[in-house]
Symmetry: C2
Subunit: 240 residues, 2 copies
Amino acid sequence: MTKYQKQTRLLAAVDCIIFGFDGQKLNLLVIQRAFEPEINNWSLMGGFIQTDESADEAAVRVLKKLTGLEGVYLEQLYTFADPLRDPVERTISIAYFALIDSNLYKKQLTDEYHAEWFPLEEIPDLIFDHKKMVLMAKENLRYKAALHPILFELLPPMFTIPLLQSLFEEVYETTFDKGNFSRKVISTGLLIKQKEKDKVNSKKGAFYYKLDKKHYKKNFNKFLHFIRNPEGISKTNTSL
Amino acid sequence: MTKYQKQTRLLAAVDCIIFGFDGQKLNLLVIQRAFEPEINNWSLMGGFIQTDESADEAAVRVLKKLTGLEGVYLEQLYTFADPLRDPVERTISIAYFALIDSNLYKKQLTDEYHAEWFPLEEIPDLIFDHKKMVLMAKENLRYKAALHPILFELLPPMFTIPLLQSLFEEVYETTFDKGNFSRKVISTGLLIKQKEKDKVNSKKGAFYYKLDKKHYKKNFNKFLHFIRNPEGISKTNTSL
DNA sequence: ACAAAAGTGTTGCTGGTACACCCATGA
DNA sequence: TCATGGGTGTACCAGCAACACTTTTGT
């Protein structure tokens, strides 16, 4: 079979917007770009899609290369295809967003990328259109987390309800009533109570919970409307 | 500036999943492919991204080429990048989904593409991974329409509430109480009542309404949770 | 007059919010 | 024993589902 004639070939890359929660703040993992142009400037972790690899596979590879982690929550976000977005040559970028427990990455030692966590409000200038990608990812995180139990992906396997609450409060920049929050989250049936308590953050101690993996997938959509009227969220609304 | 070395260049295309409502059924617009491979087989309308064009621009161009329509609701859906998805040569496809009042397209005469509307339950075999794209678009339509007022894009500028209800019932494959439906849709503040009635479908006649364009954008997110517990909807949940 | 579809009234229930209160424990 | 954060009890209220009812008009 012959090739398609007279069409432009171009580069395709993936870029990963990696969110992490350290128990206090929501952070973004960025690296210092290792090659020209914009060498040493802050950038999302990314890479070109290889010949025999799908975009998903490329994103998994890139994420693992940076963090060493596998089995991470990773979702295709949006494809950026402005003809001028990369000054070197035309490159379209398929952006992915990832959620990890940022404590896991701290342990990575071999940091050939000069990676660094930045709190969401203090993100430095990023190359190309990466800032736009981060903004969209942030919106998408709020949007999706109001409807689906994805924020658990940012927590360690065992966590307390007050910790979960502080994560929600961080993401939605608001506060929730602790009593109602606790009841609501337990009523989802997604959590399994543990015997142990966390005594670090209070005298009484708060019980640890684990995610019920079975119910997790089943209730992924039943979680809908967990946050009722999130402010400032919006799904990209493109009427062209 | 030199180019990025030793990377694979590949083709990038857009494909449009075009939904239309004719007052009765929800339909999909497909064409007969005009070139090899798979010539004459059913396919989504698509096209390669040109040198100076973004993906959005390509989608708008492709949609206009087929339907003659501009200003249509069009949204990037997902990017399909499996290395083997096109047997001729590696091509990634950025899928867009579009919503139109299918009566508008009926009037198009110059049909050089042999386009045809198919009811959603009777879609023929499609080339490559186009069936997968349609499935995802269908899910996304249900998902998004439960949260945002996008189904109006499928209706003519003036429509009755019973017509809107039959559209929702078609999309969610269920029925709603007419009284509650009517109150709920009016309470969104998105509709402007007209003086005229549609007398075709009932003796009493049903008032026409128009969309309030100003409130539309403002309430795009306030519409959230319009359908409370839609069955069978799901946002792609990719934990890789 | 009757049938048929549009649209209104009404009631009971669900579930969410606010907030008072009790509980366990370290200092 | 007191301060602190974890967790429970409860009363009120909005909004929704169910369904009976009224309205309009062509035949």
